[in-house]
């Protein structure tokens, strides 16, 4: 950050880090990625066959047309040397074999919860807890409305005390930014007490 680098450094590749945006199907993950990303969310699709899933493994999949797993992501340039990527994880549980790859090397995760059907995000919370990946919970209000206080939702989700719960609106840039800041603050606190 000294600003004394020459133009040769201008094209040096930045360091990259990632944060995952998880939660149940249709909870607002891609909306959140789009709200804070500096680029329109990008999508990459992985055919199940190419992703290394054997043909035999397709037996459990009922919908034959579902032959790709979509991954939506966005980008936040932190500085010339550091870029943060946000990955919205696939919502359907049957695609979770993708998640292991996604989770490796992630700083942490935001688990979005829909107050109308919090159970759809239980599996995501369980996933990160089991793997020891730090996360915060963002309660995405339907139309921005929050009928329950954060503490009620913490109790309903049986979250440990060190996991922060924030009421948010996935459509609002500042709201999503604040959720990400809460996650990083939680990571900083954990790093200082480690």
């Amino acid at each position: 950050m000294a600003g004394s680098e020459t133009t040769v450094e201008a094209v040096a590749p930045p360091d990259t880090v990632k944060i995952l945006i998880a939660g149940g199907f249709g909870v607002g993950k891609t909306t959140m990625v789009g709200s804070v990303s500096e680029i329109a969310p990008l999508r990459t699709e992985e055919p199940l066959t190419v992703a290394g899933l054997g043909i035999d493994d397709l037996n459990g999949i009922e919908e034959k047309q579902a032959t790709t797993v979509a991954l939506d992501f966005g980008r936040i340039t932190i500085s010339r040397e550091l870029v943060l990527y946000l990955f919205g994880t696939p919502g359907q549980q049957r695609f979770w074999f993708m998640w292991n790859d996604l989770a490796i090397g992630a700083l942490g995760a935001v688990v979005l919860v829909d107050v109308r059907r919090p159970e759809s995000s239980f599996a995501a919370i369980d996933f990160f807890e089991r793997r020891g990946i730090p996360f915060v919970v963002g309660v995405n209000g339907f139309h921005g409305e929050h009928p329950y206080p954060a503490e009620d939702i913490r109790d309903a989700l049986a979250l440990p005390a060190d996991v922060r719960v924030l009421l948010c609106d996935a459509r609002e840039r500042e709201s999503c930014r604040d959720v990400l800041i809460a996650l990083v603050d939680q990571l900083i606190v954990a790093a200082k007490t480690a």
């Binding site: 930045p14 932190i78 990527y85």
Partner: protein
């Protein structure tokens, strides 16, 4: 290999899968695992003199990574699966046509306070 793609050209779905398959020379996984979603790749400019002439799809990749770009972004722009792009990047790396910059290492047990503070400051500026 183009003949193979033409044979099934009438069937869109099969054609697409076969096309992907030919792009990778029939391989379904890269020979090395350097290419994560946020690994950054950059075309070597000028290309090494003895480098083989790139295939059309390889040339598309090289144009896209004239400046550093993450593998996931590259795949999205090319409308190709990350797994296919990773295999093609392997070939380009072995031909000396690209350089690879790995993501910042993140290990849960040894948090990087300096990195976290930078991310925190950057988000605060949004």
């Amino acid at each position: 290999m183009p003949a193979l793609a033409r044979e099934v050209g009438g069937d869109d779905t099969a054609g697409r899968l076969v096309r992907l398959f030919t792009l990778t020379g029939g391989r379904t996984r890269p020979s090395r695992t350097d290419f994560t979603l946020i690994t950054t790749v950059t075309a070597v400019d000028p290309p090494p003199e003895r480098a083989p002439r790139p295939q059309p799809e390889q040339a598309r990749i090289l144009r896209r990574c004239a400046r550093p770009i993450a593998v996931a972004e590259l795949a999205a722009h090319l409308d190709l699966p990350v797994s296919v792009v990773a295999i093609m990047l392997c070939d380009l790396l072995e031909a000396g046509l690209i350089t690879v910059h790995p993501p910042h290492p993140v290990t849960p047990r040894t948090p990087d306070l300096d990195l976290l503070q930078k991310v925190r400051d950057g988000l605060g500026r949004l």
